[in-house]
């Protein structure tokens, strides 16, 4: 029997703390029903407007879309379900903007979301950030990066800013990069750098979505944790992002505020060696506990 535990945490980085700006990362997690969990991470653009609010609205709009379409479609098992979720999210985001009299610049924030049940997991990324998949015997990291550090935001679409976005990246034929790697030295067939694939603007704008089976018969074992990270995971002083991700996923228990506990302790521990998050950092986690297996 699988039991789903969810939690999320976000923390301000040095840069924003020093200049008195708010944390522009946000995360949410919860259950869509007793057997389906979700996780969401949104990272507001530093050069945007009030993107601390934007990141929260993106996360809240995503949650609303996930909740409503879960009732209608169940687990997002098809491309059209995924597209419908992103479309409804954008629609709610625009509604929120109007009600709050915000500009589209205020909404410039990434959107990573994941859904899991006892059999399947799915994650989708618009913008930059990282998805971590912790199997019993191996940790996979999938990073999304944009040229010029200019990720695509859902708000570009609803604010009719897509052409401007494309123009800025016009000299970059494949500005969107997807890197899949394993932290195990023997993982990914022994290829330490993993697989790197570059894509055109249109592909990046659509975002990347992937399905995984929870029960895995290969040497990695079953999928235990799906975690979404903002790109702050790659900007921690004195530490590689692989170490940061592995450290943040080293949960001592998975009850209640387990991600908050891990984040708090991790930041406290790395402070002793001069480590600290330069950028804001957020992560949201779905942990799948197999109650039939001894811990």
């Amino acid at each position: 029997m699988n039991i789903l535990n969810v939690d999320h945490s976000f923390h301000i980085g040095e840069q924003h703390r020093k200049i008195g700006k708010p944390c522009q990362d946000y995360a949410l997690s919860g259950l869509l029903d007793e057997q389906t969990a979700y996780a969401i991470v949104s990272d507001g653009c530093s050069s945007g407007g009030m993107t601390d609010i934007g990141a929260r609205l993106v996360a809240l709009a995503t949650r609303r879309a996930l909740t409503e379409l879960h009732i209608k479609n169940g687990f997002p098992a098809k491309d059209e379900h995924v597209s419908a979720i992103n479309k409804l999210r954008d629609s709610y985001l625009e509604d929120y903007r109007r009600v709050l009299d915000l500009t589209h610049k205020d909404l410039l924030a990434t959107c990573l979301w994941a859904v899991a049940n006892k059999d399947m997991a799915f994650a989708h990324a618009t913008g930059d950030g990282m998805i971590a998949l912790q199997y019993e015997d191996e940790l996979f990291l999938e990073s999304f990066e944009w040229a010029k550090n200019m990720p695509f935001y859902p708000a570009y679409k609803i604010g009719n800013m897509v052409d401007s976005f494309k123009n800025v990246l016009a000299d970059e034929p494949e500005p969107f990069t997807d890197i899949l790697e394993s932290t195990s030295p023997t993982g990914m067939g022994g290829i330490p750098d993993g697989f790197l694939s570059t894509h055109d603007v249109a592909t990046g704008m659509r975002g990347v979505g992937t399905w995984w089976a929870i029960h895995n018969t290969d040497c990695s074992g079953n999928l235990q944790t799906i975690a979404l990270f903002s790109d702050g995971v790659k900007q921690v002083r004195e530490m590689s992002y692989q170490t940061v991700a592995a450290g943040l996923l080293a949960f001592k228990s998975t009850t209640g505020a387990f991600a908050v506990r891990r984040m708090n302790r991790f930041l406290k521990d790395i402070e002793k060696i001069g480590g600290s998050p330069i950028d804001d950092i957020a992560f949201a986690v779905i942990h799948i506990a197999d109650k039939n297996k001894p811990t």
Binding site: S253, A257, R261
Partner: protein, 253 residues
């Protein structure tokens, strides 16, 4: 006692043990551990009800704290009558559990009898807190603690030595097992003995943080003591995360 929260057994050493909620099942990010140790020696006879009421009032007041979800309380009583059964003079009413899990109606009636194993009480109180706090810390929880030992008389019947008590108190304030720990020895006058000086000496020699003489064990005084205990718990919990202990506790009740 109400055992709906799963409890685990822990050993302190030298034959002392305690119980605490299964750490895997705890959900908050941080906890303030509270131990309340009540003297049940013969000299409290006639005051059992007032002392019991003081305990329940203190716990009830903690429930009103904004930090109530972050409190875990262990309650023990001490008297030499428990030595034959437990190997020391301490009887655990319940181990560390969250406030919501404490059933105040299930507290047994106190029944004064026997001598005063004060060292056993402090050693059990602080030793258990050290051990449980370390286990919580190892599981990413932030922890601090406060221990109250309420007695009307000095040490005369312990299996634990003064050195054991001192060592456990020293460990509790090193900052290694918990962020901070305050230990308060509270003397009450039940008319059989006026042990204020003895208790003051005990506090000084063991290194307990504070000694408070509450005076006569009247209903009014014990009500004030209950308020003092709950307020001290609340301020200790508020201080968690600041790196230091709570503000100085008022020296009079």
């Amino acid at each position: 006692m109400d055992n709906s929260q799963t409890m685990d057994d822990f050993a302190i050493g030298s034959g002392f043990s305690f119980t605490g909620a299964t750490i895997d099942e705890l959900g908050a990010t941080e906890y303030t551990l509270v131990t309340i140790a009540l003297d049940e020696s013969g000299s409290i006879s006639g005051y059992e009800t007032q002392i019991s009421d003081m305990l329940t009032e203190a716990i009830k007041a903690c429930n009103k704290s904004a930090r109530s979800n972050n409190l875990m309380v262990r309650t023990i009583r001490f008297g030499s009558q428990y030595r034959s059964r437990n190997g020391n003079g301490v009887d655990e009413l319940h181990g560390f559990k969250t406030l919501a899990e404490i059933d105040l109606n299930s507290y047994p009636k106190l029944n004064g009898g026997g001598a005063t194993p004060l060292c056993d009480a402090v050693y059990s109180g602080v030793g258990a807190m050290n051990a449980y706090a370390k286990s919580l810390q190892d599981m990413d929880f932030d922890v601090n603690g406060i221990t109250f030992v309420i007695t009307d008389g000095g040490e005369n019947a312990s299996t634990a030595s003064m050195k054991m008590v001192k060592d456990s108190l020293t460990e509790s304030i090193k900052g290694e097992v918990m962020e901070s720990h305050v230990s308060v020895l509270i003397g009450i006058d039940t008319g059989y003995s006026d042990d204020k000086d003895n208790l003051e000496t005990f506090q000084r020699e063991t290194g307990m943080t504070q000694f408070i003489w509450a005076g006569d064990a009247s209903k009014g005084k014990l009500a004030k003591l209950a308020a003092f205990v709950s307020q001290s718990i609340s301020s200790t919990s508020v201080a968690l995360g600041t790196g230091g202990p709570s503000q100085n506790i008022l020296a009079t009740i």
